[in-house]
């Protein structure tokens, strides 16, 4: 029982802020007489979908020989079709604005269907060599299919998947597993990450300006910035003791631009990414200066300097919550 909340609810009822019905309802919540298991149901669905998709992947991997390509391909396609049939049956009409999910399962079934399409497409491409030497284009095709589903069904999850597939087509991982960004000789991946990141940001600006799925902008913007700044940070750190001036300058320019633009547009998430990238760049520079003890003075002063910058900037953002 949450006594303090219960007392507060009673107080609010006595002052007329809450109606009797509201106070009675919130009183039940505070006493623990009414409990929502909504989050648990979502987590169970999330884990369930992850396990099914993982199981399908393992099936393909382990039983390639025994089952044969047609059986596996058709089986996964059937499962995907069932998922998408459910989605098509229960989907609300299309809108360029946000659309609420009609059921708890909707987002997850859609995600599972799209994931199964991806598994099937990759499998069939490998088995039948449909695209020949242009095999990586199946990732682009997959990304386009996913974009279509994301826009039709207003799904941020499928949009994130589409962005990840598009980045994968260019050889870039959108997860922390993408440590190849930091490898010394992987400049091509980093350049691709810069380009893909810039493209995502441009797409974010486009959807926002046109007002068509404008609520997708944070997904485009955050993942784009993550790639853009991540590539620059990776480039600055990839020199193994030697500071790569081109990448360092790129990082400095990008983080300065991000901080400035985020500050002007009052976007705290972008501002945070810019500050972290700038801070990492500063640390990289500090370690290159061979200051010995001075390094610690510099890092300590830098940390508190960034702290004051953050608190100063926050006053402008005036962000609550």
């Amino acid at each position: 029982m949450n006594r303090s909340l219960l007392e507060a609810v009673d107080r609010l009822r006595a002052r007329g802020v809450l109606t009797d019905a509201q106070a009675s309802f919130f009183g039940r919540i505070a006493r623990g007489d009414l409990v929502s298991v909504r989050l648990e149901l979502h987590i169970a669905l999330w884990i369930g979908v992850t396990m099914i998709a993982g199981g399908a992947g393992l099936l393909v991997k382990e039983h390639l020989e025994q089952l044969g390509p047609v059986t596996i391909g058709a089986g996964i396609a059937l499962a995907a079709a069932l998922c998408l049939w459910y989605v098509a049956r229960s989907a609300p009409p299309f809108s360029w604005g946000p659309v609420a999910s009609p059921t708890l399962a909707f987002d997850y079934v859609l995600l599972l269907g799209v994931l199964l399409i991806g598994t099937d497409l990759a499998y069939l491409e490998t088995q039948f060599r449909l695209l020949g030497s242009n095999w990586p284009y199946h990732l682009l095709l997959l990304a386009l299919i996913q974009f279509a589903f994301a826009f039709r069904h207003d799904s941020r999850a499928v949009l994130s998947l589409a962005l990840a597939s598009f980045a994968a087509w260019r050889g870039v991982a959108l997860s922390f597993a993408g440590t190849e960004l930091f490898a010394r000789h992987e400049a091509a991946i980093r350049v691709n990450a810069l380009v893909v990141g810039a493209l995502f940001i441009a797409a974010g600006i486009l959807v926002e300006r046109t007002g068509r799925k404008a609520h997708f902008e944070p997904a485009f913007g955050n993942l784009g910035l993550l790639l853009l700044l991540g590539a620059a940070v990776a480039g600055a750190y990839a020199g193994y003791g030697h500071l790569d001036l081109v990448w360092f300058t790129t990082l400095a320019a990008l983080s300065a631009a991000t901080v400035t633009l985020a500050y002007r547009s009052r976007r705290s998430d972008y501002f945070a990414q810019g500050v972290i990238a700038a801070y990492l760049g500063f640390m990289r520079l500090a370690t290159t200066l061979h200051l010995e003890t001075g390094l610690f003075y510099l890092v300590s002063a830098g940390s508190f300097g960034v702290l004051f910058l953050i608190l100063w900037a926050h006053k402008r953002f005036k962000e609550e919550l």
Binding site: N2, S4, L5, A8, F26, G32, V35, S36, V37, E40, L41, H42, I43, A44, L45, W46, I47, T50, M51, I52, A53, G54, G55, G57, L58, V60, K61, E62, H63, A105, Y108, L111, G118, A122, Y123, R129, L139, R156, V158, S160, L161, A164, A168, G171, L174, E186, N192, S268, A272, I276, F296, Y297, V299, S300, S303, F304, L307, I310, E319, L321
Partner: protein
């Protein structure tokens, strides 16, 4: 905790609840505004992004500042290092008090960083000073663990950070595992802590932060009991390994211990679930589900029931199907609830709900192709599929 912090804590809890009710559509904007006007917070809140940034800056700044002290004074021996850590820890504890008392923003992230550094330094100081006395590794740990438990418990009580209550519980359990009969001692300490926190939570009017801390102690203690009765843990002698001296033989579990562990693995999660469902305690229900899943995984480890892909697919389908049926069943009840449970949002669950599918999507995204130079017209090298631990190539 000072009385003013208690009051601020309760106000923050009510305002958070009001925001949650508003987000869930249970009250309108006017009522939400009236509640906010009626309960003025001690200061504006920093958003989570800002708090994380401030935490990182203060943590790095504080750590490097301490390193500067070490370097400047040329401290190398245990006493010097220990005393410096002790003094720095006390200074940081005082700074945490000042931040909580004076800072116009509540919380800022800075007090979390300084309190963490303070507690960490005080724990490390005890270890360094005791180690310098050459008491032997075992005695040093026997003295350090209770000190750490006390430091974190005090930090949780003073500043209200619930994670520190959990850390204190872990140190108390680690101490129990240092003695002969580690497993029964571990279970006894965990059971005592679980009973104490259950009684305290049910009978005392605690501030929200302290209530959260006591709740975490209970959950950590109950999870620790499961760690002690799990079949795999007994079979591998995990708890006995914690206090085993270097060179001492590994302890093998007897048949009776394994039989009891088998029963414990099966019955304990069910008992937790039953307790949680009966008392409408979400934390207990969640713990029951997690321990049940761990018990099923343990069975899979010892008994080959079916191929992994069958297990994954069937369990996933069962889990997803059950949650959907459960949601329908709850929604179909009177006022969308049954026996005090509902699938409707009561607070601001929406944000986390929206993030879950995105996390699933990114976890299951296809692996990127490998870029290095492919000569024009080179044959395909295969694609990738899966994710979520099942990524592979063919």
């Amino acid at each position: 905790m000072k009385p003013a912090w208690h009051a601020a804590d309760r106000t923050a809890e009510l305002l958070a609840a009001a925001r949650g009710w508003r987000a869930a559509g249970l009250i309108d904007e006017a009522t939400s505004g009236a509640i906010a006007a009626d309960h003025v917070a001690t200061g504006p809140r920093l958003g989570s992004v800002w708090r994380i940034l401030v935490f990182i800056c203060v943590a790095i700044g504080g750590t490097t500042a301490t390193t500067i002290i070490f370097i400047s004074f040329g401290l190398r021996n245990g006493t010097g290092v220990g005393l410096t850590l002790l003094l720095s820890g006390l200074a940081l504890a005082a700074i945490t008090d000042v931040l909580l008392e004076r800072c116009s923003f509540q919380p800022t992230g800075a007090e979390a960083a300084t309190s963490l550094l303070a507690a960490g330094y005080l724990c490390a100081a005890a270890f360094a000073l005791l180690d310098d006395l050459h008491l032997g590794e075992r005695l040093t740990l026997h003295l350090t663990y209770p000190w750490c438990a006390a430091v974190f418990a005090l930090a949780a009580w003073r500043w209200g950070f619930r994670l520190y209550a959990g850390a204190a519980t872990v140190f108390a359990l680690l101490l129990a595992a240092q003695f002969p009969g580690a497993r029964p001692a571990w279970i006894a300490v965990a059971a005592l802590l679980a009973a104490w926190s259950s009684v305290l939570g049910a009978t005392r009017d605690l501030s929200p932060s302290h209530r959260g801390g006591v709740e975490l102690v209970r959950i950590v203690a109950l999870a620790a009991i499961y760690a002690a009765v799990n079949y795999y843990s007994v079979d591998k002698g995990w708890l006995e390994e914690i206090g085993r001296l270097v060179g001492a033989p590994h302890q093998r579990a007897g048949d009776l211990s394994l039989l009891l562990a088998g029963l414990g693995s099966a019955l304990y999660p069910l008992a937790l679930l039953a307790w949680g469902l009966r008392s409408r305690d979400r934390a207990l229900i969640d713990l029951g589900i997690v321990t049940a899943a761990l018990s099923l995984t343990t069975i899979r480890f010892y008994i080959h029931v079916a191929p992994l892909w069958v297990i994954l697919t069937a369990s996933g389908a069962l889990l997803a199907g059950t949650s959907l049926l459960l949601e329908r069943w709850l929604r179909a009840g009177r006022d969308g609830e049954r026996r005090g449970y509902t699938a409707a949002p009561l607070y601001d669950e929406g944000r986390r709900e929206r993030l879950l599918p995105v996390a699933a999507a990114l976890a299951l995204a296809p692996s990127p192709r490998i870029l290095p130079a492919e000569p024009p017209g080179a044959p395909g090298r295969g694609g990738t599929f899966g994710g979520g631990g099942a990524t592979g190539t063919f």
